[in-house]
């Protein structure tokens, strides 16, 4: 077990190193002349030269890379030209909003995909099974940013039920920061009115993310449960006289957890990309909107930094999943 963890951890380090190589070549080699780019249009030759000196671009590439990599190791990811803050400060500022969006979406997604998947598996060829299969086919074909716009159009423009975007209304002030999650902070502050505002603002972005993930999750739960139900142990458990509910929730569900965790951790990768699109549409003031604004302003440092940070986060999540497997499913320990 220890050897396994060490091996996975070394692999995670290797992946992060590869990511740093890629972002380094993207920021130092791919742009024809980073110095000329940083100097902007209409800069004179001597200006570009002094910027090159200042940025250390006339040193050998290896030296530049070592400098770059040690910066990453110290979590020094450079400054944003647009916000004039260090990228890490910006990330710290915008991270809670994104985390709140992701955590709420993910909890609802897990709950709903298990619910719909189970219902579809237990009632094959019923209306709900058909519905699940139709959403599965169409779900992956809908671009997530467009789905977000459609929801805005229906629930804001046409019906006027929900706000068009943002975390709170223009005239609301955020709750005193404890966790950074407005839902929790507003409750801690005892401000139920604000909690309601926060929850209402969460509905559309969360719905977008849940709908875009739901197809895959539901199909997976449905397929896994159907497969498990065929296995001998289910018949044994049933013939022992255990109730259907006990067989299902104690025996079957436990065995379906593993594939669900695998696929879910892969879906996190999509989630990172989709939060950028979803936050951009709903002006959700998180990391995604920060990235989107950086794209618009051609501000490279935050983009490269986010590519690294998201990769590290993803690799760490996978590492944790790998370690969790044997705890959830003892059969894996032997192999």
């Amino acid at each position: 077990m220890a050897a396994f963890i060490v091996r996975r951890a070394l692999w995670a380090l290797l992946v992060i190193w590869a990511v740093s190589l890629i972002t380094f070549s993207l920021s130092h080699i791919v742009p024809a002349d980073p110095a000329a780019f940083a100097a902007g249009l209409g800069a004179t030759k001597s200006q570009i030269e002094s910027i090159r000196e200042e940025m250390g671009l006339n040193r050998p590439l290896v030296v530049q890379y070592v400098d770059y990599a040690s910066g990453i190791a110290r979590l020094d990811l450079g400054d944003s030209i647009r916000t004039r803050h260090s990228v890490m400060d910006d990330v710290r500022k915008f991270l809670p909003a994104t985390l709140e969006l992701i955590v709420v979406s993910f909890l609802i997604y897990l709950l709903l995909s298990c619910l719909f998947g189970l219902l579809a598996a237990l009632n094959p060829r019923s209306a709900i099974d058909l519905l699940v299969r139709i959403t599965v086919i169409s779900g992956s074909a809908i671009p997530v940013f467009w789905l977000a716009i459609v929801l805005q159009l229906v629930f804001y423009s046409q019906l006027g039920w929900l706000p068009i975007g943002g975390r709170i209304g223009v005239h609301d002030s955020p709750p005193p920061s404890v966790t950074g999650f407005y839902t929790i902070d507003s409750l801690l502050d005892g401000d139920l009115g604000l909690f309601k505002t926060v929850a209402v603002h969460l509905i559309l972005p969360v719905t977008t993310i849940v709908l875009s993930l739901l197809a895959v999750g539901t199909r997976l739960v449905r397929a896994t449960v159907l497969e498990e139900l065929q296995k001998p142990y289910v018949r044994v458990a049933a013939s022992k006289g255990l109730s259907e509910r006990r067989v299902l929730f104690v025996h079957v569900v436990r065995n379906t957890l593993n594939p669900i965790i695998t696929v879910t951790s892969i879906q996190l990768a999509y989630l990172f990309a989709w939060t950028i699109l979803v936050e951009a549409v709903f002006s959700w003031p998180g990391i995604g909107l920060y990235a989107y604004n950086s794209f618009q302003a051609v501000d490279y440092n935050p983009i490269m930094a986010l590519a690294i940070l998201l990769s590290v986060a993803f690799v760490l999540i996978n590492l944790v999943t790998d370690i969790l497997y044997p705890l959830i499913d003892p059969r894996i320990k032997r192999s």
Partner: protein
Amino acid sequence: MTAAEQSAPALNTPAVSKRSRSAIGSLRKRPMLVVSGLLAIVLLIAAVFPSLFSDQPTTGLFMRQALESPSWHHPFGTDEAGRDVFSRVIHGIRYSLGMALAIVAIGAVVGTLFGAVSGIAGGRVDELMMRVVDIFLAFPTFVLAMAVAAAAGRGMKSVVIALSIIWWPSYARMIRGMVLGIKENVWVESARSVGATTPRIIFRHILPFTSSQLNVRVTVDIGYALVAVTSLSFIGLGAQKPTPEWGLLIADGRQYVTSAWWYPIFPGIAIYVSTLIFSLLGDAIAERSSSVHR
């Protein structure tokens, strides 16, 4: 040569009539394959000859008809410059679908070659090549694509480069897995024993057997690539104004979400329908090839 040409029609006549009869039969037997296949062909024709489907101008200023709601004359309404949205969506096919096709083609070719070489080589080389693939599959690739597209500068070329870089590894892994199985067959052994070169073995004796699965994968992937391409264009990394690329159309139309719903909606429906067509076609091809093998 001339003899062959003369005899060809005579030989072909019965074959053609047989084929046309089987086409009607296959429509009845596999409606999904025929319908989605035809729709895909229509899309490709519209990509090459958009003016066949719409004769309205896609550029220029027609301010007196700006943001008109859908009508007989403008089925998808008009945009902020009074241009016909239907016409712009039709002319956008070649950009959006074109990029998607390019990405899948590059990804499939590079991935197939990489996977085939890795599978044939075996041992240390295989191990090393697959580790490279694993690294690519081990982090959020779409975020990487955004970074690549940003660094390479805005434009459709950057989008194609960025997405091709993240697209090939999954093909490499799939093909390598299939090659490992196929290369154990007798005919590969016999080809090698009569002195066939490795490239010849790869191209003549191994890769043909991967084609049915590869076809399915490529077809379905065109739809996914389309969504990826339009996503990058939506955040401003891909096509630039006034190109009528679908992602860009939605980004422009988003500003009128409260006043002109048709502007962001129809390009999105175009993405959705196209993706659906290719994903249904892929399913239908998979179904057909699995029943043929049986």
